[in-house]
């Protein structure tokens, strides 16, 4: 099945729940689907073959992911922290492509043949413009997402995730609309990491709201978690250490947070012990998995 069907189901079953952003003023599941369909119609008309995302977290991320799914072309989030030459080498491997790009990054990727550079604002504008995608059949074995490895030992390798991989992972492990209406996940992992992608898919299918932080910053993370009544979050160990320092400095806690998962590196025992003392009512989950396995395989 197409990964966009995960969103389509939730838009049908709980159209007015907020999918992305604040409870007041956020985008509902029905609106998210409509924006993705409109963006998909634009992608189909442009006859591009891939959608690149070179930007921090924002609502453009899930819109672009689902739009690419509907249009049946791969979604390719890339690491904006790469040096210009490495970045350009990777992008040259994605053409012909449209790049949804942070305003301040457009100048870094000009002049790559076959790459159409578009700002986030321009892309979001396409998602507002009425249009209906063709609804063509996308086979389960078609590639849905391309994630580049860090390339520690040579050129970055592309991990290919097919529609059948990501949807199998979601429908076999997540209960449809299984989230309570008050649940909200704070996502601060970057879009080019598999955890950022699976957060979108599992939240969409379970009907859980996502609140994005463009980039991780401990004080903003703690303030946002409190203001947005965040119940779920995923962090890497260094983030948790900095969040705890912030809470200790503020002499405060996070009353709404119920569930914190961590991964992406070894968790130092002193950090998790401090976390369990400071946040006694939270369930902690250590997640481990490979990009190639559509995220978590071991808990």
């Amino acid at each position: 099945m197409n990964l966009a069907l995960l969103l389509e189901m939730t838009a049908g079953g709980a159209p007015d729940r907020v999918a992305i952003g604040s409870l007041n003023g956020g985008i509902t599941f029905a609106q998210l689907l409509e924006k993705a369909q409109r963006a998909a119609a634009y992608l189909e008309a442009s006859e591009t073959e891939r959608v690149v995302m070179l930007d921090v977290n924002s609502e453009a991320l899930p819109i672009a992911l689902f739009a690419a799914g509907i249009a049946g072309i791969p979604f390719v989030p890339v690491n904006y922290r790469l040096a210009d030459d490495r970045l350009r080498q990777i992008l040259a491997r994605t053409v012909p492509a449209v790049s949804v790009t942070a305003e301040d990054s457009t100048s870094r990727i000009q002049g790559i043949e076959g790459l159409e550079v578009m700002t986030r604002a321009e892309f979001l504008d396409k998602a507002e413009h009425p249009g209906v995608p063709s609804g063509r059949f996308v086979a389960p074995e078609e590639i849905a997402i391309v994630l580049f490895t860090s390339g520690t030992s040579g050129d970055p390798k592309a991990a290919l995730l097919r529609h059948e991989h990501v949807t199998a992972y979601i429908v076999s492990s997540v209960e449809f609309l299984g989230s309570d209406e008050d649940e909200a996940a704070l996502v601060s992992v970057p879009p080019y990491h598999i955890a950022g992608i699976s957060a979108i898919l599992s939240s969409a299918y379970s009907g859980r709201r996502i609140v994005y932080l463009p980039q991780f910053e401990p004080a903003i993370w703690v303030d946002t978690a409190r203001e947005e009544s965040i119940t779920h979050a995923m962090v890497v160990p260094t983030m948790l250490d900095r969040i705890l320092k912030e809470l200790e400095a503020q002499n405060s806690t996070l009353p709404n947070l119920r569930h914190l998962s961590y991964g992406g590196g070894r968790m130092p025992i002193p950090v998790i012990e401090r976390a369990m003392k400071l946040l006694p009512n939270i369930g902690f989950v250590n997640a481990y998995g490979l990009t190639e396995t559509s995220s978590t395989v071991v808990f």
């Binding site: 099945m1 949807t167 492990s173 808990f299």
Partner: protein, 101 residues
């Protein structure tokens, strides 16, 4: 019926819609409420659900059959029990994992 993986089907007699998660290994007849399901986008026949097959088919539930290997996901809920070769399909239980994302 060509129940290829990823194909979508609608009930001829109700709102039920399904997507094929795993294709069957043999030719099968998939029905909802006693009537063969139609490719999504086809008009329903307006017929009546057969007696005894008027149960609820909830959105988000998976149905599977070990003999043919077919697996379906309900993408739109409604009335009209799902049958495969006239045998009622079994609900496949989810295996919720401790959510990490």
């Amino acid at each position: 019926m060509d129940l290829k993986a990823g194909s979508r089907w609608t009930s001829a007699v109700s709102d039920v819609e399904v997507v094929v998660v795993k294709a069957p290994e043999s030719d099968v007849s998939l029905k909802s409420g006693g009537h063969e399901m139609l490719p999504l986008g086809t008009e329903g026949t307006g017929g009546a659900i057969e007696a005894g097959l008027d149960g609820d088919v909830p959105i988000g539930k998976r149905y599977a059959d070990d003999v043919s290997g077919v697996e379906l996901l309900v993408t739109k809920g409604g009335q009209g029990i799902l049958t495969l070769n006239d045998v009622v399909l079994e609900l496949k239980s989810a295996k919720p994992l401790p959510s990490s994302d």
